[in-house]
Amino acid sequence: MKRLALLIFILFVFYGCLLEPTDPGSLVPPTVDENSNLPSIPIQVADHEHLIHYKTFGDSTNPALFIMHGSLSDMRVYLPLQELQDKYFVVFWDQRGNGLSERVPEDELSYDAMVEEIQAVKNRFSPDRAITLLGHSWSAVFVAMYLGRYTDNVTQAILMEPFGLNSDIMEKVYVPMNLMSNEYLDMMYSSKYMTPKDHETLDFQMLATLRAGVRNYFCDLDNLPPWPVWRVGGLALITWEKNLLKDYQFNFDFTPGLADYQGGVLLVGSECSPIGYGFQEAYHQPLFQHAEILEIHNSGHRMLTEQYDALITGLRGFLSEYEQVQ
């Protein structure tokens, strides 16, 4: 009996020494609300105030250029674009629920809330002057929505490989799902014993999907290009993807107001992605009054790490502040 009591005591002591998956900085890096050393500002979106992680580069009197990361990402891989600070006040931030920004519940991650977030950041960094917006992947969709609603707030927009901007377009593209990749199967296997019951575990598990290539947007599925991040936003992606569907069918339209936008639009498309150059030219260019296309050769969806030089050259060729110099 004494031995049993001793064993139970030892187990309790052992259990008390265990790490908690939800401890800040345990499984994933802490967010700005958990570590006050990280640069942050509060923004008010969807009637709630949350802290976002941000970085700015360049003279704040220059025209503002907002860089918006895609889903399952954060600003980290986009930071080389800070070189545009020679002509722009470059603003990076991790969207709410992503990267090192504060996590928010599902009902604060609606598409309308994401548009509201862009406006909230604009109010903070460029309240009286129109901005230039760059969005990649899911953020290119949010940029398109913002253009449709706030046409006068944007001088130029860069949309890097948005997927179909409405259901009809989306149904025309076939993106093969690779559910048999080792990394995806590993993630499924580990979710049995490490269930994503909180943001920390969910974000940690979904870090593996960046190495999985579940959707084939790549030139070589066996050698995925790197995509360094600090922390992905698992719930944000799940929420956004889920809301595209109604009764298991695509049911969305992000195009209202786009035809009224007078400014220049650059659609960037890669050579290998099924939503790359050809797709953008065929389905998205006609939606805008003044849209041009930049093709990035020998690249898939991860153009920033695959063909950065071609990308930055193309961006400089489009951006009006460089045009004036020339």
Binding site: V28, L185, Y189, Y193, T195, P196, K197
Partner: protein, 253 residues
């Protein structure tokens, strides 16, 4: 008396069909009139189904003092076959040990209990994981001459998981900067993490002896996770609710 178990896994809607067919097939040479499982001298083959597919090998034997209660213990090694075949190396396996017993009997109705401890060894892109946990199940069942069918409910709790982070996971902590643009020194800590997972399985199971030496076992059901975001990988990527299914073929030595 020794017993062995070998199980393989598959996925798809064929599982419930096979299970139904096997359980409803007319009996052939019933030997075990109590409807109890073989619990000694067994080699078994089978199929199980989940998102990955896998196989099991095992050993089972009587617990003599509880023989009237049809109790036995077992040890199994489970290997996710698709993962193993695709990666061409054994980077995930699970060791299970447990006791299954008939707890109470009321004529043809009985209550079975199953308690199992497990340890997993899993090497993946995020690191090396060693979870330990337990599975506790109850099965009210109806016995017939060669077997039984029953409802199954089991709770699976991972007590703790040891994580050794990969360099890929460690990289996500690098180059964070503070408000003064100084690089922050942060890194994840290898160690034991508490209570990393849990889920509830609810379904049906059935067992049937089809010859003096051969018997089959099957179960199937749905997995309900205990947490808000759990099961999202199934829902997001495959568009299905999490499910499980097992099929085993026993051979009595």
């Amino acid at each position: 008396m020794k017993s062995y178990l070998l199980t393989t896994r598959f996925s798809g809607p064929i599982l419930p069909v096979i299970l139904l067919l096997l359980i409803s097939t007319p009996h052939t040479g019933a030997q075990n009139m109590t409807g109890n499982e073989f619990h000694h001298g067994v080699v078994s083959l089978g199929l199980t189904s989940d998102a990955f597919g896998g196989s099991e090998m095992g050993y089972a034997n009587d617990i003599p003092p509880l023989k009237e209660q049809s109790a036995f213990y077992y040890v199994r090694v489970s290997i996710p076959m698709i993962l193993t075949l695709k990666s061409k190396k054994l980077h995930a396996w699970e060791l299970k040990a447990g006791v299954k017993s008939e707890l109470r009997t009321w004529g043809k109705v009985s209550m079975r209990g199953d308690i199992q401890l497990y340890v997993v060894n899993h090497q993946q892109v995020l690191g090396h994981f060693i979870p330990i946990g337990a599975n506790i199940g109850l099965t009210p069942c109806y016995k017939f001459s060669e077997g039984y069918v029953g409802l199954q409910a089991s709770w699976n709790q991972t007590f703790a998981t040891h994580i050794s982070y990969s360099q890929y996971a460690r990289n996500s902590f690098q180059y964070m900067t503070d408000a003064n643009n100084n690089i922050m020194d942060m890194h994840p800590n290898n160690g034991w993490y508490a209570s990393t997972g849990s889920h509830l399985n609810i379904g049906i199971e059935g067992y049937r002896q089809i010859s003096p030496r051969i018997a089959i076992y099957g179960d199937m059901g749905l997995t309900k996770y205990s947490a808000l975001y759990s099961g999202v990988f199934d829902a997001m990527m495959i568009g299905q609710v999490p499910f499980y299914g097992n099929f085993r073929l026993y051979y009595k030595m």
